[in-house]
């Protein structure tokens, strides 16, 4: 059996260090060091008791908070206060997100954003507003409920969670629809929001339906009505851009109709301009003329120079297509006059190039060259966007001018002279009268 004495028995030949007895070293010193190691600073010991008492007692629920995930905590809070619908909606949203991700496969870029589970701010916001909505529903304050859903939708729009914000817009719409008698204005607004959501997603047909409903519902409210017409106009133009040919023309017509119903003259006339252009594209010059004239007059009224320029150009082209030379030159010269005080301006360049284009088509190459040279020099000086266009037109004018002579030379098989001309490219070579 091993010895189990309290202290170590000292071997007799061991000498004590520092003149201490064996007893002191073996018994007293170890116990002192033991105490030293575990002794707290004096003031802490004094305060320990009071500190302990001052510590707040954790309730059972607080301890549970440390043990559970945020989702669990929030759900339990919601359920405790009786908001079971909010709880079920939260569960549905989270499972929907997970299923969506699984459906899209593992490689989809959407996966890089964290799951809603992991974003505490969003979860908290979502839960608190769902609770408010449920409370409002219980008290039959449906406008409150609607506004809560709206807030949720805009919050998620800001944080770029389109899927959530779209679903909340649709919820607000359903609330507004079921309680339409109370406040039809909300229903109209709801349709607007849903329409915008569809547009953002790129689903233009559905957006169109929503906007049409918005328009219908806002019959009695002036401001909303105007807004509705504007939205409709915009959407029709978008649709027209997307589709081709016949359908696009119809859409532009509808856009114009919608714009007439709004009170905004500017939009109305811009739409009439676009309509005119569309008709020109489709070859229906007369109708085009009608609308373009409208735009022209409006621009004159409002002193919109750029618009005026556009209108004049368009009108000139139309008349030229109708082979009505005087009228087109008339419009163009008017345009020129109006902008002639701003010589170096882009407007002037455009005017000149338009004039030159008309002359080109009318085979008046000299005057064409004149105006086009002006346009070209201006746009060179300003490095304007239309530079390429002017360059090309200028070249075309020159080319057309020289063409008959060119043909002549070819007929006569005068290749030597042609070659010479090619070397120098000087006009006189070709236009020299032949013996």
């Amino acid at each position: 059996m091993t010895e189990t004495t309290a202290y170590r028995t000292k071997k007799s030949n061991e000498t004590s260090s520092k003149g201490q007895t064996a007893f002191y070293r073996n018994v007293i010193l170890p116990s002192k060091t033991y105490k030293e190691k575990h002794k707290l600073p004096l003031n802490q010991i004094k305060n320990a008791a009071t500190a302990y008492e001052q510590q707040s007692i954790l309730q059972k629920e607080d301890t549970e908070k440390f043990r559970s995930s945020l989702k669990r905590q929030l759900s339990i809070d919601m359920l405790r206060h009786g908001y079971h619908n909010s709880f079920r909606e939260l569960c549905a949203i989270l499972t929907w997100q997970k299923e969506d991700r699984e459906r899209l496969g593992a490689e989809h870029p959407l996966h890089e954003r964290p799951l809603l589970d992991g974003e505490p701010d969003k979860l908290r916001f979502l839960c608190s507003h769902l609770n408010k909505a449920e409370e409002a529903e219980r008290r039959c304050q449906y406008s409150n409920m609607y506004h809560n859903y709206l807030e949720l939708a805009s919050y998620f729009l800001k944080s770029d969670d389109r899927w959530l914000s779209d679903s909340f817009y649709e919820k607000s719409l359903s609330v507004a629809q079921t309680y339409r008698q109370l406040d039809p204005q909300l229903a109209a607004e709801a349709h607007l929001n849903v329409g915008l959501a569809y547009e953002r997603r790129g689903d233009l047909m559905k957006a169109l339906h929503s906007f049409i409903k918005y328009r219908q519902l806002s019959e009695d409210y002036e401001q909303l009505k105007a807004d509705a017409s504007l939205q409709l106009t915009r959407l029709y133009m978008k649709l027209a851009e997307r589709r081709t040919d016949n359908e696009s023309l119809q859409y532009v017509v509808k856009a114009y109709e919608a714009s007439t119903q709004s009170d905004d003259k500017k939009v109305e006339n811009e739409t009439s301009y676009k309509l005119g252009q569309a008709y020109v594209e489709h070859g229906n010059i007369d109708l085009a003329l009608k609308y373009l004239h409208k735009y022209y007059d409006y621009c004159q009224q409002v002193n919109d120079d750029e618009g005026f320029g556009q209108a004049s150009e368009a009108l000139a082209i139309c008349y030229q297509k109708k082979a009505n030379v005087e009228k087109s030159t008339e419009y163009l010269t008017q345009y020129l006059q109006k902008v002639s005080d701003k010589e170096g301006d882009t407007q002037y360049a455009r005017a000149c190039s338009a004039l030159g284009f008309i002359h080109n088509t009318l085979s008046q190459y000299d005057s064409a060259i004149q105006s086009l040279s002006k346009a070209y020099s201006i746009s060179l000086a300003n490095s304007h966007v239309d530079l390429e266009r002017n360059r090309v037109l200028f070249g075309i004018a020159h080319g057309f001018k020289l063409r008959p002579f060119f043909d002549d030379h070819i007929d006569r098989m005068n290749t030597k002279e042609l070659l010479q001309w090619k070397c120098t490219r000087h006009e006189s070579f070709l236009t020299k009268p032949k013996p």
Partner: protein
């Protein structure tokens, strides 16, 4: 009791002390049929007999007998395994019997049954296993029914401690934690601590939703109790919305059951089989087991009373019709056909199309059943 035999504690061998099944005191009586169950008094013996012993007497005899020595290790292992399996089976049987007693409000009979299941489970799984918890829950329900709140609290704490003692990575099955929370909530309600009860129910509903899905009928029990709590806390609007939800859940569940059941029966009617035995051949999902049935009955009755109470202030006839319809389906599935007609007649001004469809189906089925019965009678007469 007829099957009792007096035994003398001093007559046993030195280390052998037989304890009473119920209370654990030294036993002086023995059941003479199985000869392995001991009791300390006549009351305990009758209580145990009514509760459970009647049904498991013979099984216990074979399980508790001293096993003879078997020469080979393999044979011993085989035998141990067999005994263990039988014990497990018996645990389930006793648990179900205990549950049935609880549903039929026979709490004194439930206690011996639950105790038996607990003892067997301890023998099989050990005293700290999670498998013991359902037995504890039955015991707690029984003691709650007998108004022994402290006893109930003890059992529930024991169950909760078992769960807490589990290793961190092994989460106890959510169904069990949800049931435990539900019972704790019932205890809190009995103790009038409504906030505690609400918290427990929140835990219960969360676990149950996670496990079964948010629209399952098992979660409806939690919602139902929560509604009761809010009613006691004087917040009727919450109760209203919760009870509506409960009604909806049971409604969906029962309608689904009805559809599977009636479809099945249609098929067999076409094939010319008898309808009465169909109930046993259905798959599990479309069966209505006893506990669910009892729960449904209780819940629907209370909901019905609630609706009738609030009808003066807030008439929701559609909700009332839904409840009546649920009851109709329940009676139908329990083959209580007289009640079916009674219940159907109570539905007035029903605007929900689904209810109309279901009623048509039920009536058609009953007709067919009647025809079948007439056919069978005629056949019998011919023979």
């Amino acid at each position: 009791m007829a099957t009792t035999e007096l035994v003398y504690p001093l007559a046993f061998p030195k280390s052998v002390v037989h304890k009473c099944e119920i209370c654990g005191k030294t036993a002086s009586r023995m059941c003479s049929k199985c000869r392995v169950t001991y009791y300390c008094s006549e009351e305990h013996q009758t209580a145990d007999n009514i509760g459970i012993h009647d049904k498991i007497c013979s099984t216990l005899a074979s399980l508790r007998l001293k096993q003879p020595f078997l020469p080979s290790e393999e044979e011993r292992r085989e035998r141990d395994r067999e005994i263990r399996d039988r014990k497990i089976h018996l645990v389930e049987v006793t648990r179900m019997i205990g549950e049935r007693h609880v549903f039929q409000d026979r709490f004194e009979a439930a206690v011996p049954a639950a105790l038996a299941s607990l003892k067997l489970a301890i023998e099989v799984y050990g005293p700290r296993s999670v498998e013991l918890i359902p037995s504890y829950l039955i015991l707690s329900e029984a003691s709650l029914g007998l108004k022994q709140l402290n006893q109930c609290w003890e059992y529930l704490s024991q169950a909760q401690y078992t769960i807490l003692q589990q290793q961190q990575h092994e989460q106890a099955p959510l169904a069990i934690t949800s049931q435990l929370s539900r019972n704790m909530a019932q205890l809190s309600i009995a103790r009038k601590e409504y906030d505690e009860a609400a918290r427990h129910l929140a835990n219960d509903i969360y676990d149950a939703s996670l496990f079964y899905g948010t629209e399952h009928h098992k979660v409806a029990g939690g919602y139902f109790l929560l509604g009761k709590v809010f009613k006691l806390m004087n917040r009727p609007e919450v109760t209203e919305s919760l009870y509506t939800q409960v009604t909806q859940m049971w409604y969906n569940f029962l309608r689904r059951l009805l559809q599977t059941r009636v479809v099945f029966s249609d098929m067999d009617a076409i094939l010319g089989k008898k309808d009465d035995d169909n109930g046993d051949e259905l798959t599990n999902s479309s069966k209505l087991d006893l506990s669910t049935e009892a729960e449904a009955f209780n819940t629907l009755q209370i909901l019905l009373n609630y609706r009738l109470e609030t009808q003066q202030t807030n008439p929701m006839t559609q909700e009332l019709n839904k409840i009546h319809h649920c009851l109709t389906i329940l009676y139908f599935l329990a083959r209580d056909y007289i009640q079916v007609h009674d219940s159907m007649n109570k539905i007035k001004d029903c605007t929900i199309q689904d209810i109309e469809d279901d009623q048509q189906r039920i009536l058609k089925f009953l007709e067919q059943l009647g025809q079948m019965k007439a056919l069978m009678k005629r056949q019998q007469q011919q023979n």
